[in-house]
């Protein structure tokens, strides 16, 4: 028998409760906006004493069945464009592959702190830019007072849809768009690249499908679940071949997340699309602040900045607390909007 790569971790009841709760909230957010939870689950498992690589592998092993159930649920609601999801997933897999290589070379050249700094800066730059854009769009819809109106296609998406490149055009029926593969390929690639860095590729994939391709928010968030399924399945196989998956951790998270992902999916049928954008922007911007807090810590570890140990430790704790808060804020907005939508439907 090949020796096991995973050290056996005794699971206490507090670990199980933590994984169930974060799994549920992460699932709720995933069912609603297509992704979320990994950025809390992975560091959360590491704080329980799970080695980083096993935390990543076990998280991926819960992600693909969760995405499968979420995608199936939203497919029944007519939200999933399977073709768009698969086309994006192919290039996302390539992006993930290249991204993992970049991560590896950064780690070899600058060490663990350099790698952490690279990941944190990627979080801050990408999430501030994209999250700010999504928030501005949601705010404009709110200010216009036409929250229930059909979504407007962005100018960029109108241009992308107008570009005819013979031999590359694909019609995505559920999304109601016809675009060149030369636009979907780089978008999927960027999604995979981001997934390899920060484990949440949907933070680029979903806004990309909405603002670059012109897919409605409901379709983009549901289609992201197809991409998450493909990438999660591939990632799980890769780590399982190295014996890195702790199936117990993955299945405990799954127990909570399947309740959450179905509730989140149902929630999308009760709220106007702009709420999806509000949740996405809120989570992205809070996570960006969370990662910005630890940038000085990694700069100090690389000797580029002076920082006392207590301050560094405080910044790390505050960063993790903000990560958890971002999921909690997302969950509160989702449940609040669902309750309002439910009451409106009942009245």
């Amino acid at each position: 028998m090949e020796p096991s790569a995973v050290e056996f971790l005794e699971l206490g009841s507090q670990h199980v409760v933590f994984l169930l709760v974060v799994g549920f909230v992460g699932g709720l957010v995933s069912g609603f906006i297509g992704s979320g939870g990994a950025f809390v689950l992975t560091p959360g498992m590491m704080s329980m004493g799970v080695p980083g690589v096993i935390a990543v592998a076990s998280n991926l092993c819960h992600k693909f069945p969760k995405a499968l159930v979420g995608a199936y649920t939203r497919y029944r609601f007519g939200h999933v464009d399977i073709k768009l999801g698969l086309v994006m997933a192919v290039s996302a897999a390539a992006g993930m592959w290249i991204g993992a290589g970049i991560q590896q070379s950064v780690r070899e050249r600058f060490g663990e702190s350099g790698s952490n700094l690279y990941v944190s800066l990627a979080f801050v730059v990408v999430l501030t830019t994209v999250g700010g854009f999504v928030l501005r769009d949601a705010w404009n819809i709110y200010r216009s007072g036409r929250m229930d109106a059909e979504e407007r296609t962005s100018r960029l998406a109108k241009w992308v849809q107008s570009v005819e490149i013979p031999g590359t055009m694909i019609h995505f029926r559920t999304a109601g768009i016809r675009v060149s593969a030369l636009f979907t390929l780089p978008l999927g690639f960027a999604t995979g690249l981001l997934a390899s860095m920060i484990a949440v590729g949907g933070f680029v994939g979903v806004p990309g499908m909405m603002y670059v391709l012109g897919a409605p928010a409901l379709i983009a968030t549901a289609t992201e679940l197809v991409i998450a399924f493909v990438m999660g399945l591939g990632g799980t196989l890769k780590f399982a071949m190295a014996g890195m998956v702790d199936i117990r951790l993955a299945m405990i998270i799954l127990a909570g997340s399947l309740f959450g992902v179905q509730l989140g999916a149902i929630g999308t049928t009760f709220v106007p699309p702009y709420v999806i954008k509000v949740v996405m922007a809120a989570i992205m911007l809070i996570v960006a602040v969370s990662r910005a807090l630890v940038v000085p810590v990694y700069l100090a570890e690389l000797g580029l900045f002076g920082l006392s140990q207590p301050v560094a430790s405080m910044l790390k704790t505050a960063s993790f607390a903000l990560m958890v808060a971002s999921l909690a804020v997302g969950a509160v907005i989702i449940i609040g909007a669902m309750v309002r939508g439910y009451r409106t439907a009942a009245s």
């Binding site: 096991s4 159930v69 109601g176 399982a240 702790d246 399947l258 179905q262 149902i266 049928t269």
Partner: protein, 86 residues
């Protein structure tokens, strides 16, 4: 048989299947962990297969659970991409 009774039956059946999956996992956790982390042959497929089995059993249970407590999707009015979903 009323719809609620039928639903309760489905919830019980899927809940039992899900419960058995989890009970089996933790009753034999040492043996399962030793087998599921093997890297030779087709053993790496075991975590994937287990995740799929759990997702079918527990996914069905959670779906029936939300339906039984009255939390159901509202499909009739939701417009997606120029099509009515239901």
């Amino acid at each position: 048989m009323s719809n609620t009774r039928k639903l309760l039956g489905k919830l019980t059946a899927s809940g039992t299947a899900s419960g058995l999956c989890y009970a089996g996992l933790f009753a034999y956790e040492i043996e399962i962990m030793a087998t599921f982390t093997r890297t030779d042959g087709l053993y790496p497929l075991l975590p994937v297969a287990a995740a799929l089995v759990f997702s079918f059993a527990h996914g069905a249970f959670t779906a029936y659970f939300w339906e039984l407590v009255g939390i159901r999707a509202r499909l009739s009015l939701r417009r997606t991409s120029g099509q009515i979903a239901e």
